[in-house]
Symmetry: C2
């Protein structure tokens, strides 16, 4: 969970590592993640302290590593791969509330139980924190709490945007919004440029997209087919979509276009 600039990990782990304030941190000393948004906020860390708090874990594809209603014992930071987060109704209806890519925090909630389930879409790596110990850690590192507040605020804004989509947008507008949002994802476009990606990778199935957008798989499929016919997108391969007319899609996503 600690990031320092050193490329190689020190063989016998030092008992305490202090990263100088202001110095950029890139390589997690705890797990092998390259970039670790928790730690970027923490100028000085006690390695042993963190080592007892976090463990790096591999999660196999399809594995549900958080279950709604279970006691919320852990707190996760995604370091590789992507998960879907969802809530279920008793009869099986499902709402995917988001996809958790690299850097995402999971399980922030104050509640004693998880409010949603999380299932790996592909092989993942996560850093798992004990929530009990996390509280003590946050008390020592207010900067980390500040970072978490930022993250939570941003997620809240995204959640409100999704409510607008689910409550008021048409099927076509929802798909367009989804495509544009994916294209704007830092993992899909080059990190340096703020532009949209030309080709986006979708690690989720049509069923996942449908459950994320409050539609059925048939409606998702038909909308994509129609976008293709209209020259807005191309589908070069399964799990890939090429954006051909991002302006039109952006307009549609905003609730204006055709």
């Amino acid at each position: 969970m600690i990031l320092v600039r050193t490329a190689a990990r020190p063989a016998p782990r030092p008992r305490a590592v202090v990263v100088e304030p202001g110095r950029a941190v890139e390589q997690c000393l705890h797990c092998d993640a390259r970039k670790h948004s928790v730690c970027n906020a923490i100028p000085a860390l006690d390695l042993d302290r963190l080592a007892t708090t976090a463990v790096s874990m591999n999660v196999e594809s399809g594995r549900a590593f958080i279950r709604e209603g279970d006691p919320a014992e852990h707190f996760f930071n995604v370091t590789a791969g992507c998960a879907k987060l969802f809530k279920l109704l008793p009869d099986g209806r499902r709402q995917i509330t988001g996809f958790a890519g690299v850097g995402t925090f999971l399980g922030l909630a104050v509640s004693a139980t998880y409010a949603f389930s999380a299932e790996a879409l592909e092989p993942m790596k996560v850093c798992r924190f004990s929530r009990a110990k996390l509280r003590a850690l946050l008390d020592d590192f207010p900067a980390m709490e500040q970072r978490l507040l930022e993250v939570a605020s941003n997620e809240l804004v995204a959640a409100q945007e999704q409510m607008l989509l689910l409550g008021r947008k048409t099927a076509r507008e929802r798909i367009a919004s989804f495509l544009i949002a994916r294209a704007a994802l830092p993992s899909n476009c080059l990190a340096s440029e703020p532009e949209l990606a030309q080709v986006i990778t979708l690690p989720m199935t049509r069923a996942d997209i449908a459950d994320y957008l409050g539609l059925t798989i048939e409606t998702v499929s038909r909308s994509l087919t129609r976008f293709k016919a209209e020259g807005l997108i191309e589908i070069p391969a399964a799990g890939e979509i090429a954006i051909r007319d991002s302006a039109a899609l952006t307009r549609m996503a905003a609730g204006a276009g055709p």
Copy 2:
């Protein structure tokens, strides 16, 4: 923005007031709010410091005091009344993302502009903080940051629940969920008992309910009429609903019942 147990405000305001840690705080020294969730988290406060940071404001009914897209200069805490929070599409479609009652924080976002608009449903009182000064205040009082993180986490859970509602619940289930959620509100049921209120007060119109639940006013009206015919509720007066069969409504809200 400071709460101490003293009933009367000290006439010449002391230059610095320190509230002992662990001591309950009830009366805001800054504005005249009775309970102030910001301050409950802060064991020791500098009154002058806060006084330059927050001002108490009255907001008349119908006034939009936050506008989506405007520079986010302030941060609010509702101390009386209720507001609707919403986002608009260019053609006027509206999604109400929540209702902000007493104690609610508004404008937490990291972004430079507001992500939603807020309009008073009734005469309100809010405490307005300068966001620029808030940052410095939070740095001095990590406990306040912690409190905000809790609040944001809870709101995130509520937002996910609302996504489930908007994406996957039927019109009847949405209305049932709304009624049960309002009945569970501390302001509607007695604070001491965790039970549901028998009669709930709705400060919002049918149009607001519709825009909150992703429905039309007609569907809201028809659903309520049918609930009444089925003996689940009664409508003693405009803006009031009496819950007659909370068990059935709760089941329906969960996506199980009839």
